[in-house]
């Protein structure tokens, strides 16, 4: 079936474009069926149509580059990007329908890319075509990547207005969507790697978008360099996979992995070289998805424009690590050590980032730490083999975190860069900020895991699964995740209660847009409320975040057996083969089925977290310093809040551990270079000079001294001849 499909798509773009244009025309449909002789329920969408998902964003990127070169000042780049990215989303929807109906992975051959052969034996040919492998996991990712990209591009059209690099921004933005699509849809590890590095590049370009600002330039470099560490692991993993499987194409890898799994089931040992592959791949995932110990770049990445934070650093790029592990879950299942490491790193990251998030005052950074924390949940989910839980959380998180970031971004935009939650209050009562505030409330409820919201369900799947997993210490990680859920609820609503409700009070930041009427000329500060584009996007996203819980509610009330996301994941390579998710394994939590009781436990914990935030940051705000509860809490915690506020000095620790020794070594090498290497090189320069200098006097320039030399030489010759003869 697969082969038929790819064979039928040999010149897919031309053929299927024709079919697409002739949708409804019977002749086009019959032509298509003649090419691909298999049952195909949507004749107007051929498999090669999927390539358009890649064509649209790269076209938008090129066009925006042209606009930037031409110095276009209007909003043309924004509308071009929104239109083309929207077209990409529509195409994704059509492809998604095709894949869902055919219920088989769609393999689309784009063009021959790399085909190198240095022998005839297996493993001596490297074939990496520009081809797409679209299964249900890919579809899930592509749906929210293209959908959110379109919405956030629309948001950016207003948010970035007036920026000098308006066209440049949309060029990078669309390039990112292209690269992310390559990453998710590629049919081989090499194409995944191309996309992986491509999104890293776009992330670098967009974090450092305001490159005149030293902190932004430094943050961009930090993100790029920290990701090098992870990418080294991924590159080694790809190479090892090639040496072991003799191919980089998913089909071939998964075929061989299935054989190895079957052999392992008969008690055959899995070779260590295969078991090392997931260990290397997960290093790459930790880097890209900002997990311990490589998370340090993500909080700094908030220097980039907020739409970038929302799309790249919250919803899509940082989930690439989750995608990688989910895609290669069969390989990870071959090595329990790798799975346990993923689970532990995820659980610890979730907790660790939440502690910092509780103490940070910059609302955008609170969101950044919560992203790290939520990504930790997803890794925990993968580690306990609940790939469905992880994928669920990726999708719900993409929606509510994008909402949260964009709401924070509107605040930053309207209040001249003010992000300190101590200096903003009661925005919901300010004219024109209703949509932002209610969107923020929706996002906060989802992130906090308020009962019956989407974040609540997806997080519960992961926590419950960690209690039934037989992984090393999984129950402890489950308890840690429960504690983290409470902390998440607390820090989320700390932001909401501080900034959006309570008495109206605000101080402007120090960034002023050109011509927005609130300069430093002594006038009272007037925040400028967001326009229709921002409000529309926020409304749509918060509705999406709310609607994401509908499948879970249907599941809860028995209207469907499992959520559609779980269905998607279970029919892809990410399906965990060892365990069946959602079935009682006999494991219990407090003597009950963990999947059922977790709804009450985690819901209760979330409510407690919100209640504490309410007590400390809304009810007791004015007398927070003197209230007995706050004093009691402060005494119990001791210096911990200050440490957390200083981010546990991790940056300083890395500075001491890596940067300082490197700095010292660099100076040592500098001296070695200056003395030894340069010494040798300079010696070779000095030698001819010294020899020449010693011979210099002979070239006196006087005619007769040369004549004396000639005569003397002649005489010497004669004497020699005389002696010899």
């Amino acid at each position: 079936m697969l082969h038929n499909l790819s064979a039928g798509a040999l010149s897919p773009l031309a053929a299927t474009l024709a079919t697409a244009h002739g949708a409804g025309a019977g002749s086009a449909a019959s032509v298509h069926e003649a090419v691909a002789p298999f049952h195909f329920t949507m004749p107007e969408v051929g498999p090669g149509f999927a390539l358009l998902i890649l064509v649209f964003p790269i076209l938008a990127s090129v066009l925006c580059g042209v606009f930037a070169a031409l110095g276009v000042k209007s909003k043309l780049p924004a509308w071009t990007s929104v239109a083309l990215l929207g077209a990409g989303f529509v195409t994704t929807l059509m492809v998604a329908r095709t894949v869902l109906e055919s219920n088989a992975p769609l393999v689309v051959h784009g063009f021959d890319w790399i085909n190198v052969s240095w022998g005839t034996a297996p493993g001596q040919t490297l074939t990496a075509n520009f081809s797409l492998y679209i299964d249900l996991l890919t579809v899930l990712w592509m749906l929210f990547v293209t959908g959110l990209a379109t919405l956030i591009a629309l948001y950016s059209s207003e948010y970035m207005a007036g920026d000098r690099g308006y066209a440049r921004f949309f060029g990078f933005f669309s390039l990112f969507v292209f690269m992310m699509s390559c990453l998710v849809m590629g049919d081989s590890l090499l194409l995944l790697y191309l996309g992986w590095e491509g999104v890293g590049l776009c992330s670098y370009l967009l974090i450092g978008f305001i490159y005149q600002k030293p902190s932004a330039a430094a943050a961009a470099k930090k993100a790029f360099i920290v990701n090098r560490i992870g990418d080294l692991g991924l590159a080694l993993g790809v190479m090892l996979a090639f040496t072991q499987f003799g191919s980089l194409e998913y089909k071939e890898i998964f075929r061989q992995v299935a054989e190895i799994q079957a052999a392992a089931a008969h008690g055959e040992a899995v070779p260590w070289s295969i078991r090392a592959i997931p260990l290397l791949l997960m290093v790459g995932a930790f880097g890209k998805s900002a997990q311990l110990p490589l998370y340090v770049w993500l909080p700094d990445a908030m220097e980039g424009p907020t739409p970038v934070s929302a799309l790249i650093h919250a919803a899509t790029m940082v989930t690439a690590g989750v995608y990688l592990i989910a895609r290669f879950l069969p390989v990870f299942e071959l090595n329990p050590v790798a799975l346990n490491t993923v689970a532990w790193i995820g659980g610890l990251t979730a907790f660790f980032a939440a502690t910092i998030g509780m103490a940070t005052f910059d609302i955008k950074r609170v969101m950044a730490y919560s992203t790290i924390s939520q990504l930790g949940y997803m890794f925990l989910g993968l580690g306990v083999l609940s790939s469905a839980g992880a994928a669920n959380h990726v999708l719900t998180h993409a929606f509510f975190k994008a909402t949260l970031f964009l709401a924070c971004g509107s605040v930053m935009h309207g209040f001249a860069g003010q992000l300190d939650l101590r200096k903003l209050s009661g925005l919901i009562h300010v004219r024109g900020w209703k949509v932002v505030s209610y969107s923020m409330l929706v996002g906060c409820l989802c992130l906090a895991g308020f009962p019956l919201t989407s974040g609540f369900f997806s997080k519960d799947m992961i926590i419950a699964e960690s209690f039934v997993s037989d992984g090393f210490g999984a129950s402890f990680l489950g308890l840690l995740a429960l504690l983290t859920a409470g902390m998440t609820a607390y820090y989320t609503f700390r932001v909401f209660f501080r900034v959006f409700v309570g008495p109206v009070e605000f101080h402007a930041g120090d960034e002023h847009h050109d011509g927005d009427g609130h300069g430093d000329d002594g006038h009272a500060f007037h925040p400028h409320a967001p326009g229709w584009a921002i409000n529309l996007v926020l409304a749509l996203l918060s509705l999406g975040a709310l609607a994401a819980s509908i499948p879970y509610l249907m599941m809860l009330f028995g209207a469907s057996e499992d959520g559609w996301i779980t269905g998607l994941v279970d029919h892809s390579t990410a399906a965990a083969t060892h365990v069946t998710v959602g079935v009682d394994h006999g494991a219990t939590f407090l003597g009950a089925n963990p999947h059922m009781i977790m709804y009450y436990v985690s819901g209760g914990i979330a409510l407690v977290g919100i209640w504490i935030a309410w007590m400390l940051h809304l009810k007791g705000r004015t007398e927070a310093a003197t209230s007995p509860l706050a004093e009691e809490a402060a005494r119990a915690l001791g210096p911990i809040p200050v440490w957390a506020q200083n981010k546990w000095c991790v940056d300083e620790f890395y500075d001491f551990l890596f940067r300082k020794p490197l700095w010292f070594m660099a100076h040592v090498f500098y001296f070695i270079d200056a003395l030894l290497v340069d010494g040798i090189v300079n010696l070779f320069g000095w030698l001819p000079k010294a020899i020449g200098g010693s011979l210099r006097p002979s070239q006196s320039g006087f005619l007769q001294s040369y004549a004396v030399g000639m005569t003397g030489g002649l005489a010497l010759l004669l004497v020699i001849v005389w002696i010899v003869s």
Binding site: S698, Q699, G701, F702, L703, Q704, A707, V708, T711
Partner: protein, 119 residues
């Protein structure tokens, strides 16, 4: 002994008869001329004198060639000297022109005035 070369040379011939003049004598004269040329070239600073000294060396060498030619009863040496003389004439014209030019530049015939090629 029959030949007389005139009153001026006859006393000389009386001391050293012409028949006794051998190749050896010619070569001694030739070497003396050449050495005098070298000594003059090395010791004098006047460019015209130095040039004359080189001519002296030339003629010393030419004399040796003729002497050898006569000794072997072969005209090659004589022919060679005629060629050399012709070329030396042309070369003399060139060299004197150069000396004139050099003199015009510095107002002096001293060879030591020219040492621009010192290393």
């Amino acid at each position: 002994m029959s030949a007389t070369l005139g009153p001026l040379l006859d006393p000389v011939l009386a001391i050293a008869p012409l028949a006794d003049v051998t190749l050896y004598h010619y070569l001694v004269v030739s070497a003396a001329m050449f050495s005098l040329g070298i000594i003059g070239f090395l010791t004098r600073r006047n460019m015209i004198v130095m040039f004359l000294c080189t001519e002296l060396m030339f003629q010393g060498a030419g004399l040796a060639l003729i002497a050898f030619g006569r000794y072997w009863m072969d005209h090659t040496g004589e022919v060679f000297v005629i060629f050399v003389l012709t070329i030396a004439a042309a070369e003399a014209a060139l060299a004197l022109a150069l000396v004139v030019l050099l003199y015009r530049k510095k107002g002096s015939l001293d060879a030591e005035a020219w040492a621009q090629l010192r290393g």
